[in-house]
């Protein structure tokens, strides 16, 4: 599972709004490190989501879900997403995105069983996205 990103920021009122584009690739490997191996008889679906985690002056910990997808058992377990835009607006609670070098994107998933425990798993590997120090004023998105 790999991700690549680009970034811009723009202020809306008083809060920073970030724009991120990313690729997500999840392919079928030898049944060890792929999504297919998580689906067993008791797994109804996987709720996948890409979240950005970072710290700002105002807030020690911020997590924002940028994108999510529901993958049912039987769906194609491969993902070849390129140049995806975030599904949800990436607002900060303040101006903490500007110049923030340490924004980390991680892919995680919620395993929803047919019955039983609901675990939340974080994918290993993450991508760091540095945000620029300046705002983009005219950006049609």
């Amino acid at each position: 599972l790999r991700k690549n990103v680009e970034d811009f920021t723009g202020p809306r009122e008083r809060s920073d709004l970030g724009f991120v584009t990313f690729d997500i690739t999840a392919d079928i490997l030898n049944g060890k490190n792929d999504l297919q191996s998580i689906f067993d008889w008791n797994v109804k679906q996987l709720f996948l989501y890409l979240s950005a985690e970072y710290a700002t002056k105002n807030n020690a910990l911020n997590q924002v879900v940028l994108w999510d997808k529901i993958m049912l058992r039987g769906d194609n377990p491969r993902l070849f997403l390129k140049d995806m835009k975030s599904k949800y607006f990436f607002f900060d609670d303040g101006n903490g995105l500007k110049g923030n070098r340490n924004v980390t994107l991680t892919l995680s998933w919620n395993v929803v069983p047919n019955a039983g425990i609901l675990p939340l798993v974080t994918g290993s590997g993450h991508v760091s996205v540095p945000f620029p120090d300046t705002y983009e004023t005219t950006k049609s998105y």
């Binding site: 679906q45 709720f47 989501y49 979240s51 911020n62 997590q63 999510d68 995680s108 069983p113 019955a115």
Partner: protein
């Protein structure tokens, strides 16, 4: 006897899980296809459990009684002693001091099956939820089992019939 042991078990669950309502029934389809109306959810609400994006939480909007089961999509957390954090982390390893990461947290939720986030559900002017609004975190679930509660709510006659049957059973048992 049965009633008191049932009550004891329920109270025990409340204490063990830390949640005022450790078992809830899913009332709406807003988390489909993961959860459907009538599914049963098991919750915990441990104080030290941090709320993190992606978790499924059950919360109540201030002033309303209905628990809502949705997913956390945004959190902003600040801790009181943020600048002391590195020092506190090493201290917590040595002296088992409680980790202060769990400071003031505000978060936003959204149902998987909904297009928009839950701001429309919150109180007028409220933009974020806080820890105090949380009834618990969904840890496990059983499908369909909660349907009984929904049927009893939608068809009160069924509820009275069930109560009558249970009452009759208790009375008859005593006599023998």
């Amino acid at each position: 006897m049965i009633v008191s042991s049932a009550l004891m078990i329920w109270k025990g669950l409340i204490v063990i899980t830390g949640s005022e309502s450790p078992i809830v029934v899913v009332l709406s389809g807003s988390m489909e296809p993961a959860f459907h109306r009538g599914d049963l959810l098991f919750l915990t609400n441990f104080h030290d459990d941090p709320i993190r994006a992606g978790e499924i939480v059950v919360f109540k909007v201030e002033g309303r009684d209905i628990p809502i089961v949705h997913r956390v999509i945004k959190i902003h957390e600040n801790s009181v002693a943020y600048f002391l954090r590195p020092w506190l982390v090493s201290l917590s390893k040595v002296a088992q001091v409680r980790n202060r990461e769990n400071g003031n947290i505000k978060f936003l939720t959204k149902g998987d099956n909904n297009e928009v986030d839950d701001r429309g559900l919150y109180k007028e002017g409220q933009n974020w939820l806080e820890k105090k609004d949380v009834v618990g975190r969904a840890r496990g679930f059983l499908p369909y089992v909660g349907m009984v509660t929904i049927i009893m709510n939608d068809y009160p006659k069924f509820k009275y019939a069930l109560l009558a049957v249970m009452g009759a059973y208790v009375l008859l048992k005593r006599e023998s």
